[in-house]
Symmetry: C2
Subunit: 625 residues, 2 copies
């Protein structure tokens, strides 16, 4: 193999090596002076001190009469004091306290005696109803220490303290160089072999959140000299360069060779999965990072390393990440050789925060779109058991996670559609759906890992759906099934049905694509095989497993398989021919304690609404239960 | 009084009234179509579906030989299979799988036989080492439901799914109109009576975080016609108008009159403190909000109401705010008439999260600069006791709060200076300092509300500092004092000492400014009074209390008082004359369990460093203990 990693350094060592080297070469942000009115979000270089007091003059805090307090000391109900025009000055809130005065009598306490005289029935003490100089901020007080990120309130305090300009760290400019012969700009019509360049968009968003500006360079083909020239340009124009590799082998070696020729390669290969094939280096006093081509790997390196390099630029120490304790919903097996970053979705059920691992492939960007947090399985750990208490590093505020309806089980696009209707109605919660098959729904609801789950499990003895499974696996009535939909299952085949498929048993001569074990559609497949006297081993593709109806449809549409079982709406979406086989009952299994949960009720409200039934009719193949 | 609030509506009712009215007039964001590459952070109008699969072709997942899997089925160690050039195609990772092939053999598993032939010792199964069409995303799958805020990963997933443009809610433009005759643009040299206009900068920062663009209009004087014209212009050009009132009375009535003449006033006066004098209205289908002039009041209304109006514009339901349970460090008295928003700082001590209330004045912007969260004392609640468990709504992520060193007690600017040195050294924690006097430090450390506190309490019988107090109030050795500094205390008087003050007893003829009860400097004052045979009642200004040395200095510099006790560095900062009185011992009281806390140790490391001693010498009046 051409891959020749210099190291397999543990992540912390890799970070430290880069940090120490960048410190040694003096990598640190330059500064610029900006108006405080435009400084929100910026990081200040030095401690900021108030230049004036706030208020900077003695200000009347009430509308009324400014006086010398001692002229009022004798006032009482029985001994009113009369003040003539010579004794007081009429003032409004915010007015400077007139010279010689040291208190304000509120206008409500003044009894008009005519001719400009007023009477009072109680005294005021010195400085009563006056905002004295420095009440909020005193000249010379430190408003914020060095390295503070300015909040809106801090900008307000600086201006109140007479600070109108401030020295801040210049925002770093990060150059991103997408590379690869097969890489093309975003398009909805890519040619076979084209890989859509979306990583730079992901990086741009992440870098923005780290406080960096971004310059994305044109896509550079896989030519060492061209990539080298692009890196040189980026190092010339930016504070840091990121080389985004394509997916073909050996690309990383280009990056490391190029960095070595321009400066120093510090790390090549990190013991983290995904993320392993990263290159960390420096040239001309600036960091150069080679990012893996797979988006998930690149995101891990961005989040773990690039974010900290930006922090180092700002002189901002990496604080602790926000973590929560959660219960792991599913067993995880992990490699001893790497620390592994497993993306999880989170939700609270009956007081417990449940972490459900998402797909782990490095190419699966959707595992990050759905991730609420990351579970880091340490190096030298073989894995974790379902039900274990684990630490999850959060990607989003916990408050956004708390209100999550977890729907799991059998895949049906209608779940996402319900979620969309709920969002349109402004529901104050989100829906997190995962596809683990009907049996997965039963286990998840039984174990308190989901509020509800879609099930369509055929009891081949009774011909009934779901009931006997629920009774068997969840005894004691801990869960109930509620009405869902009827939907048509059938064989999906290529448009025009070129192979002339007529009925289920025809699959024995075809390339079949199956669903995963535990899926209701898999149970149906096995039942149909038995009915037709067929054995799994006789079916070409029986072990070719997919997790959703659309994935099966996609493979048939692409010609990877000739036939697969699925619902009509998936076939319709892909323009496939469809041979109906049965009309099945798709229901929702709901944890009994969650039946009154407003999220569950809102979900079912949408599902049963006329408006939603219309949407189902558009999708096709559904009918009311 | 001119204030004539139409209502004193509870906050929730006020919000609901505004929400319902804005819904009725169809206040909702228009949309625009933007490239997905620039859509990060935007809110999508409708559900987004994948237009193509990702991968959109069968891609080789390894470098090696693409084959028909069935040609390899016979291969084993004992029965190698030889493939000729006709049987395979050499491929690289990412290449499209050649037509007719359905698997890839890894290059490591190929034995070169010369002449283009290769041998293999094990079979590959169909689709092995191939990323099949739709492995990540299937065409037609919902990538995100309506109303989703696009993250970097979601933008990546959209591009991977062939979505290059997307309909998003147009960012709202909010017009901010600062008003007031006394308001001036930011300056470091305001004239008496000038109020620095910093609220619009605070609003700009907050609105940005709510997802809105901002247009700040020129400062409008207190003329009804001019303000009305400005509101009309803002409503013409923007999606929403905010009228930022000055601090003078009656301004709110202008706003409500103007709104009434242009549209509808819904609420005038809300039962929330600070924030009461807010006006909520609508004109021409757009919200118009009159914000109170005091910054803290305005911030509460921005945070509670304006943020939700922006949410309504986006169709984004207001999610729950992040809250934590904390232990209240100090008693709070509250009005029955309002719900009260008390800003608190937070920190963890011995496992408990401690909430320390910050100053509550509506003019105290610094209470927001230091706030980690807000304690909402409900309407009809008289207050809360120290030690009570309370809910705190967080302003910042909990992880940023966890690592906080809480230093309380006697005021000395050196604490902020140590915090600054720590920040410069990149310490992975922050310092939160509050000024509650030396006795406050004793109570706070005793009760576990602070890690450490500054103390300089003179035992008037022994002449010793601190020891006897600690023994009396914290028996059992729960806390210890550690070395601090010696500092010079004395009388601060106006520059040139115009009143010829020579010694402490001269204050009997002057306007004195005192420190608060419990302050070490107050103890010193009382001791000196007794020594000089003076009684508190004989001192003009004995009850005029300030919380810091700089506040005392500021009042003397402003001419509000003639003399006050304080440390030399404060006098120096304000250019005051200084009559030294004693050299006192300022020490730190540390909770014994916190002595080994790395934060406490880092703090003391800085304090005792040569570098810091130099800084103290610059400040003046300090000497080593």
């Amino acid at each position: 193999m051409k891959y020749n990693y210099l190291n397999n350094l543990p992540l912390d060592e890799a970070k430290q090596k880069l940090y120490d080297h960048l410190t040694a070469v003096g990598f640190r942000g330059k500064t610029e002076t900006v108006p405080v009115t435009a400084a929100c979000g910026r990081v200040i270089k030095n401690a900021a001190y108030a230049r004036i007091c706030s208020p900077h003059y003695n200000a009347c805090a009430m509308d009324g009469a400014a006086v010398k307090a001692k002229t009022t000391f004798a006032a009482s109900d029985r001994t009113p004091v009369t003040l003539t025009e010579a004794d007081y000055v009429t003032v409004d809130t915010g007015d400077p306290l007139p010279d010689g005065c040291d208190a304000v009598i509120m206008v409500e306490d003044l009894i008009d005696c005519g001719g400009g005289s007023v009477q009072i029935l109680s005294p005021v003490y010195p400085w009563q109803n006056v905002r004295q100089v420095g009440e909020d901020i005193c000249m010379g007080d430190m408003i914020a220490p060095s390295g503070t990120t300015l909040t809106p309130a801090l900008c307000g305090a600086l201006l109140a303290g007479g600070v109108t300009e401030i020295e801040v760290i210049r925002k770093p400019l990060v150059g991103v160089i997408p590379t690869g012969d097969e890489i093309v700009p975003p398009t909805s019509d890519p040619q076979k072999g084209d890989v859509i360049e979306f990583n730079s968009t992901v990086f741009r968003g992440m870098l923005d959140s780290f406080g960096a500006n971004v310059k994305v360079y044109p896509i550079t083909p896989d030519k060492k000299e061209l990539i080298r020239a692009a890196v040189e340009t980026a190092l010339d124009e930016c504070d840091m360069a990121l080389v985004s590799a394509g997916s073909s082998a050996g690309r990383d070696d280009y990056t490391s060779e190029i960095i070595a020729s321009l400066g120093t390669v510090l790390v090549h290969g990190i013991a983290v999965k995904p993320g392993k094939p990263a290159v960390l280096g420096e040239a001309g006093g600036k960091p150069v990072i080679g990012l893996p081509g797979y988006p998930v790997s690149a995101i891990v390196i961005m989040d773990e390393i690039v974010s900290e390099v930006i922090g180092q630029y700002y002189g901002r120490p990496e604080g602790p990440r926000e973590t929560v304790k959660a219960t792991l919903a599913k067993k995880i097996v992990s490699s001893l050789k790497y620390s592994e970053y497993v993306r999880v979705s989170l939700g609270r059920i009956g007081g417990r925060l449940i972490a459900s691992p998402l797909p782990r492939g490095a190419g699966v960007i959707t595992s990050f779109t759905k991730a609420d947090g990351v579970l880091i399985v340490p190096q030298n750990c073989e894995g974790l058991e379902a039900g274990e208490a684990v630490d999850i590093r959060l990607n989003k505020p916990l408050a956004k996670i708390e209100n999550t309806l977890i729907v799991t089980g059998s895949h049906d696009p209608l779940i996402d559609e319900v979620a969309d209707f709920l969002a349109k109605r402004g529901a104050p919660f989100r829906v997190c759906s995962t596809h683990v098959g009907s049996m997965g729904a039963i286990y998840a609801v039984r174990d308190g890992h989901a509020h509800m789950g879609g099930v369509h499990l055929l009891d081949t003895e009774t011909g009934e759906y779901n009931k006997s499974y629920v009774e068997k696996y969840i005894p004691g009535g801990k869960a109930v099934t509620v009405k869902g939909v009827k939907r048509v299952q059938g064989l999906m085949v290529a448009p025009g049905n070129p192979l002339g498929v007529k009925e289920f048993k025809d699959i024995q001569n075809l390339r079949y694509v199956n669903r995963q074990r535990g899926a209701g559609t898999r149970v149906l497949c096995d039942y149909l095989l038995e009915q037709n006297g067929l054995k799994p081993d006789e079916i070409n593709g029986y072990r070719n497993e997919e997790f959703t109806h659309t994935a099966v449809a996609a493979l048939i549409a692409a010609g990877n398989a000739d036939a697969g079982l699925g619902i009509y709406s998936a076939a319709k979406m892909y323009g496939l021919d469809f041979i109906p086989i049965c009309n099945e009952t798709y229901e929702f299994l709901v944890d009994r304690d969650s039946l009154d949960d407003p999220m569950v009720r809102a979900f079912l409200d949408v599902l049963y609404s006329d408006e939603f039934q219309k949407r189902l009719a558009e999708m096709g193949g559904y009918s009311p239960c």
